[in-house]
Amino acid sequence: MAYSEKVLDHYENPRNVGVLEDDDSVGTGMVGAPACGDVMKLQIKVSDAGIIEDAKFKTYGCGSAIASSSLVTEWVKGKSLDEAAEIKNTHIAEELALPPVKIHCSVLAEDAIAAAIDNYRSKKQ
């Protein structure tokens, strides 16, 4: 299978790999399942003003899944929660030039953002 330059770049040099220390300012989303071949864990750290100031990920999955989550950590930083929620799988797939069989990786990344935001908001209630 041929990978796009951008997928290869994110795969070779993944951005923001790691784990954020869990507290009230951190939202964690974990989506996917090992049996399906991919699990994404995305964490966001949100400032008092409601801006995402840091993001980290860990992903078990194919190169496209790793690239999708790496890209998303770059994109969410500096955005408000509502802005981050507007990142759609189509944007991710387009940016990374994912082939049709890999669209599910971008869907998973979108789901991961939503799950992280949900987790953060539930802590704030």
Partner: protein, 407 residues
């Protein structure tokens, strides 16, 4: 290490390069300067010379497996040999019964042929292997009925390299008067085959797994006691009417020469290959959470199939771009399907996904193996650093207790 040519070929079970000695022989049977004749031409020298070459090759193939050359039928490969054997015998003996027994870990050439027979009204039992990939003879016996006309069990498995006890299965089949077919595509030149002793009725061979050309193979059809087949390819009545079609002299000559070399060199070759395989195994075995798939004793020398837990298979293959190896997940298909062979062993999906099949062969060197070890270790480490599952494992979380949000 600078003199290593990348990528390193470690996929000898997928196919092998043609041995240069084989290629040289084949090229003598192509052009106007060579022997290009049709072996079926009886009226002139061109035909006679070609026929002689085919006869010699038939003898060479028969010699490797201790058979009579009259028991060798040329086909286009093991796929066709499997089809001819299974459909041919099922159709011929259908008045005796309609039940066939095979295993879930067979090659698709056997499984899909059996599926076709099911559509025609035959009944097929697909036996599970034991966890080590081997067949439990008692389970085979238990599955046999008075309707059973054929048993098809492969000699060496293409994914995990385990060797089935075809001697014991053959004894049982003969005793019960059941036709026994063996797919031996992966065993020629790797395991000794003595068809005078083994009670095998039909055996499929392929040239390109044994340093011969692709597109040629053979089916062994026992003469004593005689096994009958219904032809699947009709035409000029070649190969005793069992397989029509002009014989591909150059391909056949190539298969013959490849099998001759295999017979001559297999003892020393397998010893060398086993040392390389053990070198690879020892280079990886001390890592955490690695699992060998399939029995390590009853296995051909050149195969190591190993799973790296908490690492996803396709990303591993991507990280190992400098190694030509096979993965346990078929990532070409839309849905990531873990290997049905590993599934049949009872491996969970994660371990099946993260498996790599290394197959070592005639042209593999110790330097290549050492380099492969370095690459694999680095790739697994990198991907585990990226893996949330690895973190959870390290934190002592049981992944089976987690409620996953599947998509």
């Amino acid at each position: 290490m600078s003199d290593i040519k990348l990528p390193i070929y470690l996929d000898y079970s997928a196919t092998t390069p043609i041995d240069p000695r084989v290629a040289a022989k084949m090229s003598e049977y192509l052009t106007i300067e060579g022997n290009f004749g049709n072996p079926a031409s009886r009226s002139h020298e061109f035909g006679w010379v070609a026929e002689e070459a085919v006869d010699l090759a038939r003898q060479q193939v028969a010699d490797l497996v201790n058979a009579d050359p009259r028991e060798i039928i040329w086909t286009s490969g093991a796929t066709e040999a499997d089809n001819l054997a299974i459909k041919g015998a099922a159709h011929f003996y259908k008045k005796k019964g309609n039940h066939i027994i095979t295993m879930k870990t067979e090659h698709k050439a056997v499984l899909d042929t059996c599926r076709q027979l099911e559509r025609e009204g035959f009944e097929v039992t697909y036996l599970d292997p034991e966890e080590n990939g081997l067949l439990d003879l008692e389970k085979l016996k238990a599955a046999t009925t008075d309707q059973t006309i054929m048993i098809s069990v492969m000699h060496v498995n293409n994914e995990i390299g385990v060797i089935q006890d075809i001697e014991a299965i053959g004894e049982f089949a003969r005793e019960r008067g059941i036709i026994f077919h063996v797919d031996a595509a992966q065993s020629t030149g790797k395991v000794e085959i003595d068809l005078e002793r083994l009670k095998v009725d039909l055996m499929s061979f392929s040239a390109h797994k044994t340093y011969g050309p692709k597109g040629i193979g053979a089916l062994y059809v026992r003469r004593k006691p005689r096994v009958r087949l219904e032809a699947q390819m009709h035409g000029g009545g070649h190969e005793r009417g069992m397989r029509s079609g002009t014989l591909a002299t150059h391909q056949i000559v190539g298969m013959g020469e490849a099998f001759r070399i295999a017979q001559e060199e297999m003892a020393t070759e397998n010893e060398r290959i086993r040392m390389l395989r053990d070198r690879l195994y020892n280079g990886l075995n001390d890592m955490e959470e690695v699992y060998v798939n399939g029995d390590i004793e009853h296995r051909i020398a050149g195969n190591l199939n190993i799973s790296f837990n908490f690492v996803e298979g396709e990303s591993l293959i991507m990280a190992l771009r400098d190694l030509a190896v096979s993965s346990g997940s078929a990532c070409t298909s839309a849905s990531l399907e873990p290997s049905y062979v590993l599934r049949a062993l009872g491996r969970n999906d994660e371990l099946a996904h993260s498996s790599i099949r290394f197959t070592i062969g005639r042209f593999t060197t110790a330097e290549e193996i050492d380099y492969a070890v370095v690459l694999v270790r680095a790739a697994v480490e990198k991907l585990r650093d990226l893996s949330p599952l690895w973190d959870m494992y390290k934190d002592g979380i049981d992944l089976n207790s987690v409620e996953w949000v599947a998509h």
